[in-house]
Symmetry: C2
Subunit: 190 residues, 2 copies
């Protein structure tokens, strides 16, 4: 039996630490929720910032909330080339040794030494989903997509938590490379 | 034994008919070769045009020569969204029923009724290469790429001709989705 799950395409975005939020938007600033994201507690904000790299700028990069421990910028490989930094594929949170940039907000700007990643594709799933698919947290699986741009993504990280909602995350370039759109169903193969 | 071949990433570009070239650049105009491409006789030109869709514009899209029978614009899925047209995956030359756009050159502009495609990934190979790989013209094969963004492209069209030079062609989004750069070796699997 085929085991399907929904896919979602992530556009470039930034997570801010509270300290960096205050510098960019003003002391004591609170993020404005625009809409909830599929993962419980996560939301897209009205706020946007500019990311300035050694070669170019990404204007109007959306902030995702809530604030996190460390500021992290998630871009595509094309975005990394636009900025003029090396595209480094990493799991979220794993930012040691990644490129930095200048971040410009309405009230101030900061230089970060590291924090720009190209997010490694991954699947969020709830504990009960993991049981259904027969996988465990940190497993590496493959995902098959049909159609004219059909392909099999290898090296897909499974992340299991009671806080997660079932969804595979790829970036825009990965999504377009296989011709999917948000909520399309893809097949998990081990 | 693994059967490897080189890959190349195609950026957005346009092929012009002689008639359209003359409207855009002036009667009797001849394209200026900037550099030869890997396929014999094909070359990138100094000339660029703007492509104007119902929603947005792609500025400075490079012309490839020589002139062809029909004008054809090859874009990525993201480019199609920027223009505001439907991304239609097609083999080169198969443009019936595809979206059109306005093309703006330095001396004039034209409206084309059709001609915008998202090129289907494919492999050019010489007759002797086809023998080595054990494939024939129009075969559909798969291509495996290793690394952190490793994947298997299915539905890859093989095109065999005595005029072709061995190379797989993907667009920028497909190339970035698997983390390859020009001339990287990929593996043909049947």
């Amino acid at each position: 039996m085929k085991k399907a799950l929904p896919i979602a395409l992530s556009n470039r975005h930034i997570h801010l630490s509270e300290k960096d939020l205050y510098v960019l938007f003003g002391e004591g600033y609170e993020l404005t929720k625009m809409k909830d994201l599929s993962q419980p507690g996560q939301f897209a904000c009205d706020e946007k910032v500019d990311i300035v790299g050694p070669k170019g700028t990404l204007k109007g990069v959306r902030v995702l909330g809530p604030v996190r421990k460390n500021t992290q910028i998630e871009v595509s490989v094309s975005d990394a080339f636009t900025l003029g930094v090396k595209p480094v594929i990493r799991n979220s949170g794993d930012i040691v040794g990644t490129p930095g940039a200048k971040i410009v907000g309405p009230k101030g700007e900061i230089e970060i030494e590291q924090g720009i990643i190209v997010a490694a594709r991954h699947i969020h799933m709830h504990t009960t989903d993991a049981e259904y698919y027969g996988v465990r947290d940190k497993d590496i699986v493959s995902i098959k997509i049909d159609g004219p741009r059909g392909l099999v993504f290898n090296n897909v990280l499974v992340r299991v938590s009671e806080k997660f909602h079932l969804e595979m995350h790829v970036d825009i370039e990965e999504g377009n490379a296989c011709g999917v759109k948000n909520c399309d169903l893809v097949e998990l193969i081990k």
